[in-house]
Amino acid sequence: MVLALIGDHPYFWYSSILWWGCFPKTSAEEKWEKMSDMFTEEGVSRRSVLKGTVAGAGALAAGGLVSAGTASSADAAGAKKVSVGSNQSDPAARKNDLAWVAAAKTAGFDVKLNTVDHNTFQNQINSYLQGTPDDVFTWFAGYRMQFFAKKGLATSISDVWKKIAPNFSAGYKNASTGLDGKQYFIPTTWYPWAIMYRKSVFKAAGVDPATIVTWADFINACKTFQSKGITPVALGDKGGWEAMGTFDFINFRTNGFKFHMDLTAGRAKWTDPRVQKTFANWATMFPYQNNNVLDLAWDGAAQLVLQKKAAMQVMGAFHASIYTDPADLADLALFAFPEITPAYGREAVEAPIDGYMLSKHASKNLANAKSLAEFISSDKYGKAVLAVAPTALFANNKMPKPSDPFALSQVNLVNGCKYIAQFFDRDSRPDFAGTIFQSALQKFLGGGDPKAIATDLQQQWDALPPA
């Protein structure tokens, strides 16, 4: 059984080289050694070189065997071993991970946390999930989750959901369900997208955010800021994904939530004239944006708001993460994106949900992994993370309402909405939202023709392989 366990480990094959070095010299080898002594000058014989490589392989194998030994050792003293792959690479986010891992330890889990750089984790998710992934990994709700579940790269946790359903509203259960009706996702935290602003800047310009309800109000406010010498809206789309938030908002405010979801899923066409209305509305915002949109990433644009050089930014609530001074943080506030078509009002919002999934590999450690999934869905997890991140918002309804006013305003914002979108790159196909759509948006922001862009988008969608 030990051999079987080690056999799975790649270093087993290196160890077989070790065996070769253990056999005594044959007469042929002795002759070889004599002959090579004839031909070499420095006395470094071929056999010694070969011996060297064998010794090296042996050292590798010895080290490998040792690690194979520890990897295959039985669980120690009843602690449930689970490995977790995390994309929380920012120092602040990593603190959250360490906090809940410590709480899990007291609950009897031995969690092995593997943290990978945020963007790298997403980019390599395909090869990661097909290789030897961790049992549990951080991921996002939406089509992005359903896509990998459909490909068979995740383990269904419907039985865990039967137990934990009371902790979550129906909306969260829907967001965790795959295309086959089974649940695959444990939601943990979420954040809304809205218009971020500094109260002092608005006060100094004499603009009251409560008066910004319609698009006309919004453009008037932009004009006021511009006359005062402040850039009204800061936008940075260097990363390619930032402008998707603005696109999504304008699209579902102009054409309704159902049309937006149909568009992301491919049921509606990009050549639909309603898409042109979205682009036209967005173009009215261009004169009020900073003029180096494609040169700034999201944090560069957020800096403009922090430094009071710009008044507003359409961004997720993580905009607050660049505010290190508590005085600045107290000055930060948000309001909902203005309505455009009165019929749709402000009934929809972008509120991406983050959470955890079980990989296919978890089937080798199923009981422990499902147990950890239950722990993550509980308020023990929530309380541990809340202690280090007081502004985090939790999906678990057993968690107390946040006391921080900024966090509370986010909860109130979403509570007032009927529909929740996940964000374009989580609602749509990854092969479309990635290279194709990002490129199109950047072209539009650089002054491209929206009709040509929409036609190209539809052509490229049609050319995609069937989902």
Partner: protein, 314 residues
Amino acid sequence: MTSSTSTKTAAAEATPRRRRRGHNFTTTDRAVLSGLVGGPTLLHILLVWIPALCTVALSFTYWDGIGGLNEIHWVGLKNYQQIFTIYQDFKPAVRNNVLWLGFFAIIATPLGVILAYYIDKELKGTKFFQTAFYLPMVLSLAVTGIVWDYIFRTNGFVNSVMGNTDAQTAISWFGDPHKNIWIVLIIASWRHIGYVMLLYLAGMKSVDPSLHEAAAIDGATSWYTFRKVIFPSLRPVNVIIIVITVIDSLRAFDLVYIINRGRNGLQLLGVLVYDNIFGEATRIGWGSALATILFALSIIPIMLYLYQTFKKDK
């Protein structure tokens, strides 16, 4: 065994022309040689040529990288057809790669050759210039990209020197698709010139000095000597310079990826291949088709040039 080897060697010396060198090797020698040569060749075929052929084969399929052979759907030339007609990033990428090649071939490489010519004269201070021009090669391309990003970003060195510190007046060097490729070409040349200069200098040092003297006696100017006498005699070095110019311009990736992940005017074929194969959404067939196009673009001019050059030699 030892005695038979010495008789063989004696026989070989007696008839030096008839016996080829291979006949002096014993069977053990031959076994070791075939192992040492065959091993790396086998590895090369396994790790380079077979994957390359697989890439070409995959370029005729639809596959998202998940699942086994039964998930791979054959679609013939559809990927190529769609890349050439509707893929929006393809034309800018080809334009940028050709621009890169043209810039290197017409500006950067000749500048490197000219620099080598002047430094070869060994005037005062050339040792300093030699080191100074080669120094950019020492930095990795990623570091180069980061350093120059600090210089050309909106709140960077160039904008500050020009006085454009305000967000509205600052020039967007990397954000403007018409400007950013030229900035990147300047950065790439900054590096490439030193490389070409050093290669050429090494070649020129190996030129027979009697050629210089003969030309001087005939009354040729220094520049004329270089053009008509030295340059043609350095044919092997010229071949190397041309090959690295073509290859470096077609495989450019690091600089643009560090600056803005290869978008918005900085598209390159190498980046497109990477994005389609290694991103979150893997379109293996599509990326393989792009890789095959890049491979053809690289290999064909080089093969033509090498064939032309070595045909003349015969």
